[in-house]
Symmetry: D2
Subunit: 269 residues, 4 copies
Amino acid sequence: DLPFSLFAGPCAMESRDHTLFMAEAIKKITDKLGISFVYKTSFDKANRTSMSSERGVGLHEALPVFQAVKDTFGVPVLTDIHLPDQCAVVGEVVDVLQIPAFLCRQTDLLIAAAKTGRVIKIKKGQFLSPSDMKNVAQKVLDAGNPRVLLTERGASFGYNTLVSDFRGLPTMARDTGLPIIFDATHSVQQPGGQGATSGGQREMVPTLSRAAIAVGVAGIFAETHQDPASAPSDGPNMIPLEYLETYLSELQDIDRIAKSRKNLHFFSE
Amino acid sequence: DLPFSLFAGPCAMESRDHTLFMAEAIKKITDKLGISFVYKTSFDKANRTSMSSERGVGLHEALPVFQAVKDTFGVPVLTDIHLPDQCAVVGEVVDVLQIPAFLCRQTDLLIAAAKTGRVIKIKKGQFLSPSDMKNVAQKVLDAGNPRVLLTERGASFGYNTLVSDFRGLPTMARDTGLPIIFDATHSVQQPGGQGATSGGQREMVPTLSRAAIAVGVAGIFAETHQDPASAPSDGPNMIPLEYLETYLSELQDIDRIAKSRKNLHFFSE
Amino acid sequence: DLPFSLFAGPCAMESRDHTLFMAEAIKKITDKLGISFVYKTSFDKANRTSMSSERGVGLHEALPVFQAVKDTFGVPVLTDIHLPDQCAVVGEVVDVLQIPAFLCRQTDLLIAAAKTGRVIKIKKGQFLSPSDMKNVAQKVLDAGNPRVLLTERGASFGYNTLVSDFRGLPTMARDTGLPIIFDATHSVQQPGGQGATSGGQREMVPTLSRAAIAVGVAGIFAETHQDPASAPSDGPNMIPLEYLETYLSELQDIDRIAKSRKNLHFFSE
Amino acid sequence: DLPFSLFAGPCAMESRDHTLFMAEAIKKITDKLGISFVYKTSFDKANRTSMSSERGVGLHEALPVFQAVKDTFGVPVLTDIHLPDQCAVVGEVVDVLQIPAFLCRQTDLLIAAAKTGRVIKIKKGQFLSPSDMKNVAQKVLDAGNPRVLLTERGASFGYNTLVSDFRGLPTMARDTGLPIIFDATHSVQQPGGQGATSGGQREMVPTLSRAAIAVGVAGIFAETHQDPASAPSDGPNMIPLEYLETYLSELQDIDRIAKSRKNLHFFSE
């Protein structure tokens, strides 16, 4: 029942300078608020809606930048991996390897990630029920790595829309005993909702985040950018950097109360 | 931004004695906690899953009992109505007329309810989107009654399951300016989930209630019973009376914090 | 395994002249094709999306017009009823009483309809699973009326969209032994999809109708109008009258083949 | 508007002998019926529900067996690939490379598959709308390979269930001009529905297949086995080999009629 951690950063790595700028800016806020912080960004957007979308800087350009974030600010870093043979090399630098939602059932990727010994953060597929995730987590555990985080990021609800089912948070926690993270910005995506790109309902990020914190989570994942409209991806759902502190501070207040009161488990007896 | 109100009571009226027992028991708790309380119970279960389920005591037996609750405890009462011609007679005694979710688009029922001048609490149909509710509310407003409450009680999600979409709470509030109530116990129903009756996930009531309170609601609707297993309806989702105080007290703590912090509306700019 | 019957007509009764015009036009087509025909129209649209939508001519104006259709063309007629006390008077004239989808669990309405002795056509609620319909049908059967038809008209699929689950047709048939009707034009509705009115995907009517006929149904329900764009309701999904013959003729060809071949029930062994 | 083709075989390759046995058995049936046939089987089940499920014989053992099927019976073969670096080697032998549904947005996999010049059959993700598939197909087309098939295999519908939305077939055909295949056996899967394995509704395969054929498809994909109960994967939804001929023969009858009649496109005007 520790305070929630924050996994945050821009959706895609843009440059060394931008990365250091964002990491410093977020760290300043989380230091002020006393929130544990992991810097997140992607080196490759491997499953964009269409070919006309940008891909990213690539693995080899990204690793030294991740190292620089760690060295400069002492902040651990997270990135998502897409292929088994990326895991070992990414794992040399990156502290948390994230399994994308579409890939959360790819056994070889889960095992290769597990074998790095790094923390493995698995996003729940939009096509899975919360209770399916125990089998997914078990693939990593069986590969000898107990450091697993599970992430809720919305379930398919009709077409081009996701819904956040908050019953899933305690279900996954109870089934696995693992920490549960709420992905606040992908949960408001509208996949394919703008034709060749995905839309998003940024205005719903605080609403869903409050709900998740009140239910009780180990962490919040949130993409942020100093100018979302100019970001190469996920602009419609990222949190503008200027509002990040207010956003987090609200959640801290709710988190303190939520974790000081025991959830009523006897209801199920 | 007042503290949340409570609409609570057993799903179905069982007898005069049981009604007075339940009303007194709940009032004692809400008085202690300082929560505004409206007693809820149904005189007729008009849309049971199957014919073998019990219906209820009926309108004419129920009205004097509602009056007794008001006279004895000074507690306002709520019940659901199913036909236009029930509205006037029910409205003579009952303070809040509730429109069932399946019936929330029946224009004549909405207008007949509106014309009583009583508070009209409309449950959002499981088949409607949050933004559809502004048209529903408008039917009551156009009939000259501005005292309308809107209630979220889950949306259809595949078969025999509902999902609570917490984006709906601010959407309905913003669209209509009306108070929004979260129905904590029907939101965990599993309609038809037990063949000839509906199932329920009582253990999820605190989880969804915390989420709703953190998002911000004007009230919580929750059915409760001193012995849910013996109740004539909705046993699988009612809150056992013995846990009601703890349940409400947790929600109060979150409610105070949630309402002291402004939700971040600038995100949508 | 008789050829499919047709339940067709304009969504709302507009006038005596228009009703007779439509009934004659459809009858001419169905006589030519050898299709059994029931004329459908509504005297009241009791659950419109918003108050600004038209309601209809009303019960008392409609009944003599229904009688005129029967007298003039020898065609049985169908209309939907919304309140228990409408059933007896409607049942004096109308051959098939239709229970609207939203009202399919209202026990009193089902029983009052059953007691007329007329054929009762029940639309499956968008919020119900196919296997829930056996309990619904049983309410009519228990009231002493075995003449029940069940209708598929789409299930809620996210917001403002329906999906036709064709597994539901054999499921309902197997569970109840009752004839199953496919409602081809409401299944393409987009409820609330145009803000204050419902949208529709008329272009999908032939697609879904072909699928239903190939699976095997006792009848097709389809709303039609000589000028859908000017119709008071459901314009976006009604079949233009000029295409009705081609539409039906295609379905007849598939129906003949579908019913000449036994569906493979041994698969479930 | 050619007659439908068949993509069929056991879910997983079991052995050389079993593969040749199945290929011969199916070819005998399709030759008799005059159906174009592609043999399907998987060398690796890369995304099983849990680790306790079998994986498969592996790529290097499988390729000579695929070659033997081609050499012995003159039947083209299809298999699914999971990683970009598998594509070139698989493409040396296998005629149709299938992109699994979970992986249908992985750009590198689509491009690597495209570059083999083989036919690329893409399964629509359970989390995508039909209109999202034009962007997916475009990735292969842009890589210089115009030989693309799109496959419908069900959309997420609540948890642990899929629904087949037959509006998707003409939508994808109209959007892309590509041939559309209906996957009859995966469409009845119940993902994760048996805890550590997926369930299935085999009895619904003929129902959904009839619907798809009546709507109009270029091909049917169906897994089959001489003894599904003993198969290493997907037993609950595969067609028993002994019923395959009857199943196909029914579909042929409907296919002939469906393709002889023009679908009514003028409805959308």
